[in-house]
Amino acid sequence: MSSHGTSLRTYILTRIALAVPTVLILLTIVFLLMRVAPGDPITSALGARLPAEELEQRREAAGYDKPIPQQYVEYLGNVVTLDMGESLTDNRTVTSIIVDNGSATLELTIAAFIVAVVVGVGLGLLAGRFRDTPIDVGSRLFGIIIYAFPVFFLGFLAQLLFGSVLGWLPTSGRASPLVEFELNQITHFYLIDTLISGNWSQFWDVFTHLILPAATLGLVISGVLIRLVRVNLLQTMRGDYVEAARARGVGERRIVIHHAFRNALVPVVTIAGLQFAILLGGAVLTEQTFNWPGIGSELIRYLDQRDYIAVQGIITIFAVFVVLISVLIDIVTAFIDPRVRYS
């Protein structure tokens, strides 16, 4: 109905508008964090290598001799225009870092997210539906224990088993070196790019490289989802409207799927979305374990080299992305749950 359409639209606009102050605060925090370290980024990164005058020149060029408030305004301006400069140590533009490595991380994160949702929601629904049976206890125990596995330990075991012992899957990188070299990168998402170019051997190569890292990361996160989905399902199955539906003689299967499952998943959407943000953060561990050239690994690398411009750029994008995701979650929730649109 048209009334629903406009309320959803209003909600979306309001939500996006509210995101702006949050982004602003995050950017401020990033800015301050970067300036907590003594000295300025240029000196820290290159001070040992360059003579004093050149250092001074570079500082002026990058604007680090200006007063802090002015730097702040410039920084905000740069973010809006998406021009966050070049890294100090290897002269890559921050934008290119984000595009090349960011896409790698995003591809990994989305794949892991799919694994996490399928395993987590699936087991959670089973556990709740068959409460107190071995299925339930087993799923919960699995959830607790798998979450206790650091991603790099699970990765270690996976590499040991599937790499060393069985030799089934590759354990390093996004693709074999040859494929990497030959790949026509349009979207920078290798799976999609290989599909576009129709090259099946390339696709298979890229796919097998994605399996272990995605499965490892996804499984660990699924642990949280299992418990969450289960608890929500148990609550909805005791719900008043479930009893009322039974009183009308509605079939049990329909009740479980249509009323219990569906309503249980609403809060799960929110949490799942938050998990996505956590995945982004956790991706850096997976990247280190599997030599995945993602943006998390780059962050570590630039951090070690004191390349604060690159670090600042990367963290900024992370923060903004997280806010975007939370806005997206809220919109999806509003789409599913009509009550949200009116609050």
Binding site: A245, R246, A247, R248, G249, E252, N263, D337, P338
Partner: protein, 352 residues
């Protein structure tokens, strides 16, 4: 779409017949809670039976028991006959098929009884599909709108969501949902308790129309005696899992036979009330009820026989009945049993 034997003349045969029904709830490590402990009653077509009692006397359990909507920990014994069809022990599938087309239940709190994510239309479609899947969408829609119109809900609101309706309207939607398949028996469990008096009057009016227009038998469960006076043909008073008095509503109000009924009526606040009247003592323990007549600890007319022997049901004039030693049977009362019970007993009960 109901199976089962159809009685010859539905006029005189009761729609619902409950016979010595007992519903006991299991507890963690103790004795069961005897929520319904031997209840018998009848309701004819087009008749409204009011079931009153204090909170926790077992009325809701009785209502749910008729529809087979009890939790897993509840044990049921006795007989519940819907148009001569035994409902106790019936296979769950058959019971499910009867809920909706034959028997319906209206709940107390309308605010939470509709799925918030789903439109009213969807609720109706689901109900109709579950019982009459051969109907086409148009027909289902027509029937739904008809039921809603009967409740005063306009068709323009058919596709709206539950939260867009007020409490009173939601209750009306619930009633429409319960009626859309044309059940012969309706159980209303405190349908107006959560609503304000004006809305309550509307709902009661709707329920009264049911009786007139559709010949629906109605079991109206409430703790509000005011409603009963207005809406019910007959009245059953429940205490500690038993029916202690039953009969024509007006007659029971005019001349209550059981002391509990009398005390309840005295507790009603009206414009003439100058002081609060209350029944001393606390509601009885349903796990270990008082010996003999369960009301004796709080009864102002208690006699010596009352804690000794369980009262035998006595028929009274005009088709009424009661369970109270005050009404005999005299030959069952042992000598000296009619003497008033010592005050001490009641004082002890008060401390409890």
């Amino acid at each position: 779409m109901s199976d089962g034997p159809v009685t010859a003349s539905t006029d005189t045969e009761p729609v619902l017949r409950v016979n010595d029904l007992r519903v006991w709830y299991g507890t963690q490590d103790g004795d069961p809670v005897r929520a319904v402990d031997g209840v018998s009653l009848e309701i004819k077509a087009g008749e409204t039976l009011g079931l009153v009692g204090e909170s926790g006397c077992g009325k809701s359990t009785l209502g749910r028991g008729v529809l087979g909507l009890l939790p897993d920990s509840a044990g049921v014994e006795g007989r519940v006959l819907y148009r001569d069809r035994e409902l106790v022990g019936i296979p769950p599938k058959e019971m499910r098929a009867m809920r909706g087309p034959e028997v319906g239940l209206i709940f107390q709190e309308p605010m939470t009884r509709l799925n918030p994510l789903v439109t009213i239309e969807s609720h109706f479609m689901e109900t109709l599909r579950a019982h009459e899947p051969e109907l086409d969408k148009e027909e289902m829609k027509r029937r739904s709108l008809e039921a809603l119109a009967g409740m005063g809900i306009p068709p323009t609101r058919f596709k709206q969501y539950p939260h867009e309706f007020s409490g009173g309207m939601r209750q009306r939607i619930m009633i429409a949902l319960a009626l859309v398949l044309g059940p012969k028996l309706l159980v209303a469990d405190e349908p107006t308790t959560a609503l304000d008096v004006i809305v309550e009057a509307q709902i009661l009016g709707i329920l009264a129309d049911l009786r007139r227009n559709f010949d629906t038998a109605l079991l109206l469960i409430t703790h509000n005696l005011g409603i009963v006076a207005e809406a019910c043909d007959r009245l059953a008073v429940m205490y500690a899992g038993r029916i202690v008095e039953e009969g024509d509503a007006r007659e029971v109000f005019a001349e209550p036979a059981h002391p509990y009924t009398r005390e309840l009526l005295r507790s009603i606040i009206s414009l003439d009330t100058t002081g609060l009247h209350y029944i001393p003592g606390a509601p009885p323990n349903l796990i270990d009820p008082p010996s003999g007549c369960r009301f004796h600890p709080r009864c102002p007319n208690a006699m010596r026989v009352c804690p000794e022997r369980f009262p035998i049901e006595v028929p009274l004039a005009g088709g009424r009945r009661t369970e109270c030693w005050l009404h005999g049977p005299a030959d069952e009362i042992p000598p000296g049993g009619s003497e008033p019970l010592e005050r001490q007993e009641i004082a002890l009960a008060e401390e409890a």
